[in-house]
Symmetry: C2
Subunit: 443 residues, 2 copies
């Protein structure tokens, strides 16, 4: 064939994506993360991954779960395998209200909408509230998967500083007022009040009251994302924001961390008018969330001591968190700081001034340890001195070994920096020019 | 409390939805269907529902499925209950390529993206291609659930007429050229080539060639939705459009009709560049589709004679289709016509001139039979003389009884019309002023 007389062939050879002229505006912002290739390497067994957010579910009683689900098929199979309600199965929505009551929430099953993981809750809430250009206010830093969803709806994320008690109310007010003064529409505050992903910071009780009061004043909805609330490693649970204000708060919940993520069962608890919109959006997105998954989770809750299981998970995660904190104290160079999370999955590390965590990632992977660079958790390019370390998945021994390897890399960079005084931007090892969020936050 | 001094109370009492000023533009178009209340009644056991699209899965071997899934939990539980790939599990994507090969498709598992039912395939494809105001070309009539999704992305649907061989290529070309002349961007043709929902009409082989040629000429992508292709009741399968052109066609598949819908496992087969965007969109929407559902479906395909099961489904649906066609011939008044589908779930009835199917629905439900009014399947208000009757779920005896009841209602309306010559719009029984799509298409 002659490429000159065969324009079809020329077109295909010279243009990587022949559909590029057809995509929606929102799609042009979607790019695969530059660190995906690195994370693929990080999944090799010899690498200690402190990068992912996968819960450790090795201790779940597989025999109990297997029998419960087989019985579900035998006894209710034609229901479990059929289409169901767009809002989700009533039996599960009742159990979800029991789960939420552990954090002080008094809710009716009719106000719960089941979602495909709480990630889909984020997607549907953003879908019904946000036009392109609208503003979402979020903690600095905030969950990478949420930032990805917000970007896909062409919104602008405005980050608000946190202190040790969580997001700062005055900074929140100032951010909202500035956005409004600039003609933008802030649609909601997105907050993870318990063990923020990635920082591990939690809102104190008094701070929760202040945040709610501030948002009421500003007529700003609150989207409360609470996957880790029941994984509080010390003391009693604090009330959810939703427990303190049923009218201002849309609550996102999940079974991914208290049971298992593979069923993809999350939920949104929302005021009635919002719930109606969520159900319509869910029908448009999936017709209905998976009935089988929902009834499988309900069977587990019926058959197993799920509260006792959460206690067992907490003991397991406490040992891992403690191993990480101890190793950080032992190995990290002076000038490195980190948070001390009271629960959840993550420790947030701040490197000495002048070091660049993102630029360090290839060297870390080469040293057989992976982390997530802090820039992933900011929509505005900040976070270059930060790394998120997760203690959820590896064993305490592996965590200790991983932190040791990571500290070696940090120490070497620290010495280079002290000797030559290179700023991170000038350092010859810098290899990644851009950084996109490494969604999904799993590997 | 005094409502005058308690502005909170006044606000809540006087405004049904206090969030109405906060929604996105796309959300204002979301409304619950006016016929939902009627369909709720239609779900009572005494009503024969010819309205829904639920497959009959009563003949699935529950013992086989139950054992397969229990073994999945025991042997691979920590994988099945964990997060997975945003693209979907490789083992299932391989099996999907086997399924598609039955319709002549030669595909690589790497080009398959798993979705939460093929409804989510529709959602993600629309998400990556369509900006507000873009045009989607679809058959007249077309699937109500797709029209709902397209509306949620603020697109405009342009319907193109069908004849007995499917969508008409000349009309398709004219529609696309007219949209472009008006400055609009037609993004794709949405077509159900096998047993169109709701009409039951299929594209002939020659028509498939013409449609592909026309779309190539127009540089218009084709989104081929094929949930019913393997439920062809007579003769050999026709090749899928995707089997005839791998470059122009995005293919949507589903296990909902060939196995069971409750797992919500569908897929999109797309050219590589499009597949990359779909995976990013999936990660933003759900992180990953449910791993448990995917591996459950893969276990079923491994353990069961699924091809034989499809043959059994076909025998069952053939008897139901034949019962419906026979009852229509026996009971319907002169001037009523209907399609004779070669497969799928639906017969499309056209009432005598002057009758209004939608206005007839409350009377039908009162007579203990339900159908879906034809207007649900048009974005432009047409279809008032049509009803979609589904033969998938009720037994042949119930179908016969349902058609008899429905024919009684039609006959009475027909007599009133003949006697008084009322047009549908003037008829005193007209009760529904507007009609929104009764999504989901299940009840």
């Amino acid at each position: 064939m002659d490429p000159v007389t065969e324009p079809e062939v020329v077109r295909h050879d010279t243009r990587l994506d022949r559909y590029v002229g057809h995509y929606a505006a929102r799609t042009h912002g979607m790019r695969a993360s530059a660190v995906r290739a690195l994370f693929a390497v990080a999944n090799r067994p010899e690498v200690v991954s402190l990068a992912g957010g996968m819960p450790n579910i090795a201790d779940l009683p597989l025999d109990v779960v297997g029998d419960a689900i087989r019985d579900l098929v035998l006894e209710h199979g034609t229901q479990a395998m059929q289409y169901g309600s767009g809002q989700g199965e009533p039996a599960l929505r009742e159990r979800i209200c029991e789960v939420m009551s552990l954090e002080g929430i008094n809710a009716h099953p009719d106000d719960v909408t089941i979602t495909v993981g709480s990630q889909q809750g984020l997607d549907l809430v953003t879908r019904i509230f946000c036009d392109p250009g609208d503003v979402i206010v979020a903690e600095a830093p905030s969950y990478v998967g949420a930032l990805g969803t917000f970007a896909s709806y062409q919104t602008q994320v405005v980050h608000v500083a946190m202190d040790d008690d969580g997001i700062e109310p005055d900074a929140l007010r100032a951010a909202v007022e500035a956005a409004r003064a600039a003609g933008r529409k802030p649609k909601f505050l997105y907050t993870i009040p318990n063990f923020n992903n990635p920082s591990g910071i939690s809102q104190s009780l008094e701070r929760r009251r202040q945040v709610i009061r501030t948002c009421r004043d500003l007529d700003l909805l609150i989207v409360e994302d609470n996957p880790y609330g029941l994984l509080r490693l010390e003391g009693d649970p604090l009330p959810a924001l939703r427990a303190m204000d049923a009218d201002q708060v849309i609550y996102l919940g999940s079974f991914s961390k208290t049971f298992a993520p593979g069923f993809r069962v999350g939920w949104v608890l929302a005021p009635h008018a919002v719930r109606e919109k969520l159900v319509l959006a869910q029908e448009s997105a999936t017709l209905c969330p998976p009935v089988f998954s929902q009834l499988a989770v309900a069977s587990y809750l019926d058959r197993h001591d799920w509260r006792g299981q959460i206690e067992a998970f907490k003991d397991m995660y406490r040992a891992r968190r403690d191993a990480m904190l101890e190793a950080l104290r032992e190995y990290m160079p002076p000038g490195t700081t980190w948070t001390t999370p009271g629960g959840g999955f993550f420790v947030w590390v701040t490197l000495p001034d002048g070091l660049d965590a993102q630029a360090m990632l290839p060297r870390a992977v080469n040293a057989r340890v992976a982390f997530t660079p802090g820039t992933a958790f900011y929509a505005d390019g900040l976070g270059s001195r930060n790394m998120r370390l997760s203690f959820c998945y590896p064993t305490p021994e592996r965590i200790r070994e991983g932190v040791r390897r990571l500290a070696d890399v940090v120490n070497r960079e620290y010495e280079v920096h002290r000797t030559f005084g290179l700023s991170a931007d000038e350092a010859p090892h810098r290899q990644l020019d851009t950084f996109d969020a490494p969604a999904p936050d799993l590997s």
